[in-house]
């Protein structure tokens, strides 16, 4: 919430007082609780374990090893002239070597099943900026983007706040594992039309956050066809594309476009970033890849508000072009994430908790609906609160992701060590045991 505005002597803007930054939701409240009492293996073993932050810490050692062995990437001791050009370089085209490195990295992630042209890459300071930028470019204030639910809570802020653009949800539910259906898309579109809102595009996240699952090929085809019929854009946020547990399960929209000979590809734009796959959110590296010339030019110019430090570009360019490193990294990162996933799924299962079958991402989508006192949003928030205070883990309630079914929670597993994850699973186990005991001792009133 914007700090108390005791009638300021000089006025601020409407944006200043609006609430579309969405920072009142539990998504952010949980973080606060964690920040006030953070878990630490040695010094605070009863603290709150953060499982609401989708950060990837499982593969840092690989990055450190690379940097250790390739010191010329991190300094310019030999390349003094190189440094001059670099530090003066502030061109919004971005370092060509870095764009080439990103293109090649994105190709590797997709197993070479799609090709990327470095000149279509626009660099931004993080995917947050990329998504906002695309929204500025594709839609006018009061227009809308259709977004399948449940979705990343940050979208409420990133897509709507300064742009003035609306989000119209495409409702998905557990009956088909929350997959997007044509009916749901059409219903959302009709709903927008009924409210006199102009739909400019569909924004999907693939692999999905918070579901932790990839979108099936047939669904992607359907989305593309739907967009074509209505002459709207498709933005595919593929920020978790390198975090799929097996390389074969992820289908990028780029592959579908390639299969279609790039016909009608002008409406498609891909967002990527190194924050998840490479675990480097602090570096602020994001990209927009667009098949639309006008969007590329415009995005590039607008990226002046959000450029990546040339030093960072230089630092990462050689790393991401290093074939041996990237192949090994992608493979190892995948395996480690898969192991983590299996560990948490197994642990939850023994506690009697089911999750959506996932195959990607840094989190799992947990079903706690059987535990709800009332199958409502209120019931879900009450459960979330008790988990935060009794189990002392911060997880993200489905309502903050606009999930239409109460009782689902996103649980992150990659932002902690394995021992910490064990502790969290133990706590959950005790919590579930306690609930069973409580249920036996005081059966629900009928």
């Amino acid at each position: 919430m914007v700090t108390e505005i005791e009638q300021p002597t000089v006025e601020l803007s409407k944006v200043a007082v609006s609430e579309t930054h969405g920072e009142d939701s539990p998504y952010f409240a949980g973080w606060k609780a964690h920040d006030e009492d953070p878990y630490d293996e040695s010094s605070n073993s009863s603290g709150v374990i953060q499982m609401g932050l989708a950060e990837n810490q499982v593969s840092f050692d690989l990055l450190e090893e690379y940097l250790e062995q390739n010191s010329e990437a991190s300094n310019w001791a030999e390349g003094a002239p190189g440094f001059r050009e670099n530090a003066l370089f502030q061109d919004y085209h971005g370092l060509k070597s870095f764009r080439q490195a990103m293109a090649s990295f994105m190709e590797k992630i997709r197993g070479g099943r799609a090709k990327f042209d470095p000149d279509r890459i626009v660099l931004t300071a993080g995917a947050t900026a990329a998504n906002e930028l695309l929204t500025f470019i594709l839609a006018d204030p009061d227009d809308a983007l259709l977004v399948p639910t449940p979705y990343y809570p940050g979208f409420d802020r990133d897509l709507r706040w300064r742009t003035g653009v609306k989000i119209v949800p495409i409702h998905c539910d557990s009956s088909n594992d929350f997959q997007v259906t044509l009916e749901a898309m059409e219903a959302a579109y009709r709903h927008a039309v009924a409210m006199n809102i102009k739909v400019r595009g569909v924004l999907i996240t693939n692999p999905s956050n918070p579901l932790g699952a990839t979108i099936q090929r047939s669904v992607l085809e359907e989305i593309l066809d739907f967009a074509k019929r209505n002459n709207i854009h498709v933005v595919s946020d593929e920020i978790y594309s390198g975090s799929t547990f097996s390389s074969s399960e992820f289908v990028s929209i780029a592959e579908i476009l390639e299969a279609r000979g790039y016909k009608d590809s002008e409406r498609v734009h891909i967002v990527y970033s190194l924050s998840k796959d490479l675990g480097l959110p602090g570096f602020r590296v994001g990209t927009i890849y667009s098949y639309n010339d006008k969007v590329v030019t415009t995005a590039r110019r607008m990226s002046s508000f959000s450029l990546i430090s040339s030093q960072t570009q230089h630092l990462l360019a050689s790393m991401l072009s290093d074939e041996k490193f990237t192949e090994n990294y992608i493979k190892t990162n995948r395996e480690r994430l898969r192991k983590r996933y299996e560990m948490i799924i197994q642990g939850l299962k023994t506690s009697g908790i089911e999750c959506l079958k996932g195959n990607a991402g840094l989190f799992c989508w947990m079903n706690l609906s059987p535990l709800l006192e009332t199958p409502t949003r209120k019931g879900e928030l009450a459960l979330w609160k008790s988990i935060l205070h009794e189990v002392k883990i911060n997880i993200s309630p489905g309502s903050s992701c606009h999930c239409s079914e109460p009782g689902w929670f996103r649980v992150c597993f990659a932002n902690m060590s394995e021992p910490t994850l064990e502790v969290a699973l133990k706590r959950i186990h005790s919590f579930m045991d306690q609930r069973k005991t409580d249920a036996i001792q005081s059966p629900p009133q009928l």
């Binding site: 440094f83 500025f136 415009t298 002046s304 990546i308 430090s309």
Partner: protein
């Protein structure tokens, strides 16, 4: 609003026929009588027209996207008209489909039409043919980009001696990336804020001491300006801005916020210093038009003129803002590049008790004073807690990369180095400024007496054939294409008097100056002989 369809798109969707070609040809059908004739009368000319367009577009040169990238503080790029849409159509990766083009927003369309200004065209031309003493002595000399290369060697030396340790942390023996990899506060690390507060204080002669908790860091001064506009004004509101001004403000302030810039014209008779009378006039005119003025945007030291505002002027601006209850954004990004005896006075020094501090917001950055535009470091400094809180949230769209922050914390904390650097840098700028202004004087071109920054504001009105914007642009064109020197014409800076040009000299070495003057002389002599 849909974009007009280009003619080489296959007309598979007849309902989207909006091409101008069709509109020209359809009336012909009235000429051809009879049923079959009617059809043929429209079909054949249309078909011919389509194929003609298709043919000419396909055979247009296959120019690639800009191969060498021009370094630029804002946007350097070819005009959209030159952008190779055809080459992309022919490229493997981006063949375009057959249905009508999906449209972009009106904001995007605005950008597409922009960048015809000489400011950007000049930058683009230089990038294609840049002067190099040895390798390209006939290339275009860049005087249109406000970059400081004079003191770069000092920074380089520091980097070579310190960078590895400075950037990636150490955890005992081994490199530890954990510290910089993870999510950081989006408005910057506290250590960097502390370091910057110290640096800014040094730059402002240590008269003011800055509070790090009043700092919000952004990826460059460009988003800092935009973020402040989002905080202080609504779509359709306006800021008053003295002319001539930095061309980039047109984009920073207006593009995505929808906030207007109302020029307050300054004149050579006043040495282009802002007068309160002019401010009042502009303010009143805006009110008559029903436009709500939310603040004043000034740059001090000013770009492009390079003068420093006196205490009195700063005070008058404060009083003006106070009386009308509006904000002041003061861009002090050149504060550390003062070379004349005069001292730079920050707006912060003038903010005494009688004024409401909540209305003053300072912009700063490291692109000028520390020669590091590539690292993207901008600062918003404000006393207004609400503005700070909001700006902080908005920095998630424009955060500084963590490794760069670490590096800079280390550099800025090296007090000895920074002191040496500031001193030496000023001396070098002064030397070059002196030499450059002298050189121009010998050509009969006088400059406004400036005290800071990287430019001379030169009066070349004696050389233009017709006194007006067209004459000025003709001269600019001659300078660019004949003398092969890129300068920024005053009209790009919204100067109301034609004939003034901004010449940035900090990209030159002393020995380049005679070369520049010789070239300008060539054009100056032809102009004089014509007039």
């Amino acid at each position: 609003m849909t974009q007009p369809q280009t003619l080489d798109e296959q007309p598979t969707n007849p309902t989207r026929q909006k091409s101008t070609g069709m509109r020209l040809i359809v009336p012909l059908q009235g000429i051809v009588q009879g049923r079959g004739g009617l059809l043929l009368g429209t079909l054949i000319p249309c078909a011919l027209f389509y194929f003609f367009q298709l043919y000419t577009k396909r055979n247009r040169g296959n120019s690639s996207n800009t191969p060498s990238n021009p370094p630029s503080p804002s946007s350097s790029s070819p005009n959209l008209a030159e952008l190779p849409r055809t080459s992309s159509r022919l490229s493997l990766f981006s063949r375009v489909g057959s249905s009508g083009p999906v449209s972009v927003s009106s904001r995007a369309s605005l950008i597409v039409r922009e960048n015809d200004s000489p400011y950007y065209i000049g930058l683009e031309k230089v990038s294609k043919d840049p002067y190099d003493k040895v390798r390209n002595p006939d290339g275009i000399i860049q005087l249109g980009l406000s970059e400081n290369r004079l003191s770069f060697d000092l920074i380089e030396k520091w980097m070579v001696e310190n960078v590895r340790e400075a950037m990636v942390g150490r955890d005992g023996e081994h490199l530890s990336i954990n510290g910089i990899a993870a999510y950081q506060p989006s408005d910057g690390l506290m250590e960097l804020k502390v370091a910057l507060a110290g640096f800014m204080s040094q730059v402002m002669r240590k008269v003011v001491s800055l509070d790090p908790s009043q700092i919000v860091l952004t990826a460059g001064a460009t988003p800092a300006v935009e973020i402040l506009c989002f905080c202080l004004a609504d779509h359709g509101n306006a800021f008053l801005i003295p002319t001539p001004y930095y061309p980039g403000f047109d984009r920073d302030v207006r593009l995505r916020t929808g906030v207007e810039l109302i020029p307050v014209h300054c004149r050579s008779a006043d040495n282009f210093v802002l007068s309160v009378t002019a401010l009042e006039q502009a303010y009143n005119q805006a009110r008559k038009r029903g436009v709500k003025v939310r603040g004043i945007l000034i740059s001090n030291p000013s770009n492009p003129v390079g003068n420093i505002l006196t205490r009195e002027t700063l005070h008058n601006i404060l009083v003006f803002a106070q009386e009308r209850n509006i904000h002041i954004i003061c861009d002090e990004i050149f504060a550390g590049s003062v070379y004349r005896g005069e001292e730079f006075v920050s707006m912060l020094e003038i903010l005494v008790e009688e004024f409401d501090k909540n209305r003053v917001h300072i912009i700063y950055g490291l692109s000028k004073d520390l020669c590091l535009p590539g690292f993207r470091v901008g600062v918003i400094y404000s006393y207004n807690k609400n503005v700070l809180a909001l700006a902080k949230r908005l920095t998630r769209f424009s955060s500084i990369s963590a490794p760069s922050q670490r590096l800079l914390i280390s550099m800025l904390s090296d007090i000895k180095f920074i002191e040496e650097f500031i001193k030496t840098n000023k001396q070098r700028i002064q030397k070059l400024h002196h030499s450059f202004v002298d050189g121009l004087e010998q050509l009969g071109i006088r400059c406004i007496q400036s005290s800071a920054g990287f430019y001379c504001w030169a009066n070349m009105s004696g050389l233009i054939s017709t006194y007006g914007e067209k004459g000025e642009l003709d001269l600019w064109d001659k300078l660019l294409n004949i003398a092969k020197v890129n300068v920024t014409p005053g009209s790009a800076c919204h100067c109301i008097e034609p004939g003034w040009f901004r010449c940035c000299f900090t990209t030159l070495a002393l020995e380049d100056i005679p070369v520049v003057m010789k070239r300008i002389r060539k054009v100056a002599e032809t102009c004089k002989s014509l007039s």
